[in-house]
């Protein structure tokens, strides 16, 4: 059974038990009424809401939803649903769609100025090449093509150690 909010008819999602003067008082409130009472707060804009707002702004969203990463195959539409990206390459693959979102989520700045790995790290190109090979390896294992899988594993190892 769904409990309704004490203040309106929306389903309650905040349940609070207060003990006051030995009396137990139970409160059931919806998100909005709880925020209104100062019990909870919606300061943390969830990524789903950012995405929703963003889609409203961007007009014809279908075209963006179909954008796909050629490395991990995730589409922008799938990202929009879950709020999680599939692989590091998505930041480049979805750049056009992600930039306005980053702007809003990150207070208007989109250039990293913080720590840089001391070790030069592997180049973007190499990282993406390894990512691609790993994707192919995943497919090879799924289709039980073990010969190809073994060859891919060797290639990955070679690249990682280069």
């Amino acid at each position: 059974m769904k409990i309704k909010c004490d203040k309106c008819d929306n389903p309650a999602s905040v349940h609070l038990t207060e003990i006051s003067g030995g009396q137990k008082i139970e409160k059931h409130l919806c998100q909005d009424c709880a925020a209104g009472e100062g019990i909870t707060v919606k300061t943390n804009i969830p990524i789903s809401q950012l995405l929703e707002d963003f889609i409203l702004q961007s007009g014809p969203g279908e075209e963006l939803a179909d954008l796909a990463c050629d490395v991990c195959k995730i589409t922008f539409g799938e990202f929009r649903q879950k709020g999680l990206l599939g692989c590091p390459h998505d930041y480049d693959a979805f750049e056009r769609a992600l930039l306005p979102l980053l702007h809003r989520a990150q207070d208007g700045t989109t250039q990293h100025v913080g720590k840089v790995p001391h070790r030069a790290g592997s180049s973007q190109k190499k990282q993406n090449a390894i990512l691609r090979l790993r994707g192919q390896l995943k497919d090879a294992v799924a289709s039980e093509d073990y010969e190809r899988a073994a060859a891919l594993r060797d290639q990955i190892k070679q690249l990682e150690n280069s």
Partner: protein, 351 residues
Amino acid sequence: MRLTDLTKQAGEWLRGAGPMHDVVISSRVRLARNLAGMPFLSRCSQDQQRELEARLRKELLEVGLAKEVLYVDLAAASDLDRQLLVERHLISRQHAEAGHPRGVAVSGTETVAIMVNEEDHLRIQVLRSGLQLEEAAQEIDRIDDLLEERLDFSFHTRYGYLTACPTNVGTGLRVSVLLHLPALKMTGEIEKFFRAAQDMRLAVRGLYGEGTEATGDFFQLSNQTTLGRTEEQIVSDFLHQTVPRFIEYEQKARQALLDRRSVAIDDKVCRALSLLRSARLISSEETMYLLSLVRMGVNLGRVTDVDLAAINELFLLTQPAHLQRIRNGPMSPQERAEARAKFIRARLGTG
């Protein structure tokens, strides 16, 4: 080192010391990191998740994080042990409840906890008691450097450290404090706190972090912007500009209560303490509520025969998984209520 060794006392971060400890219970910093050349976790096959877990477990145990390091394989751990780690703030609820290969590395003092295969491949966190964000930030930087000697992290020249969710990209750094704000709650001024947090683009969460309601007298306050500022700037602004403002709100509210309603405050605090010292059955909600009042009483000097560290420890040890661990077996809520009351009486010196 074993998991059971952890349950006998509270971690260092709950010892009730450190600067501004009357309002700031603890400071926490965390870094999100992902291995280069690997998909983010939700796009990994189970084989890849297993490979990541095994690789990261090995590195975390070998890298020399601390004198003693405990690694818990969460896929193999019992529900009770996972709940215990959540209650100790060492893993998130999501991490406890997930089903894929995952783990956590914990230092002996519990000031370092590194989650493997959470939303990102690595979630490194450092905890300190009181307001010690700079110390925590230095420690996490040291750990990050150590790990970076062995692991290639996914890094982009424009976007910095790449994370599964774009809200963490850049530094991957989240700084937060756990605040005890009973007076703001009592005077009804807590709304002011929420509004100020909103204006300053801060996130407010409940006692157990992301996804938990900000209810009761405990609130976690954290930064939301991770890109476009250096780690030092993020820590320094939060430490010197943000947190002092909220501490001041609470301290002013406490002083106002003392000036205008000191008898009423004493009444509330003393009743709470006697209830804790005499109850025979008590729920964890009521325990939290009463302990919060007593904690404020101790901090205001209205209660002198109870130690702050003892109160802090009770917050933790009266939680369901801890009680069951101390009693060595599963208990029904009714049995827990009884065991909890008995445990509190023993700790507060009334047998």
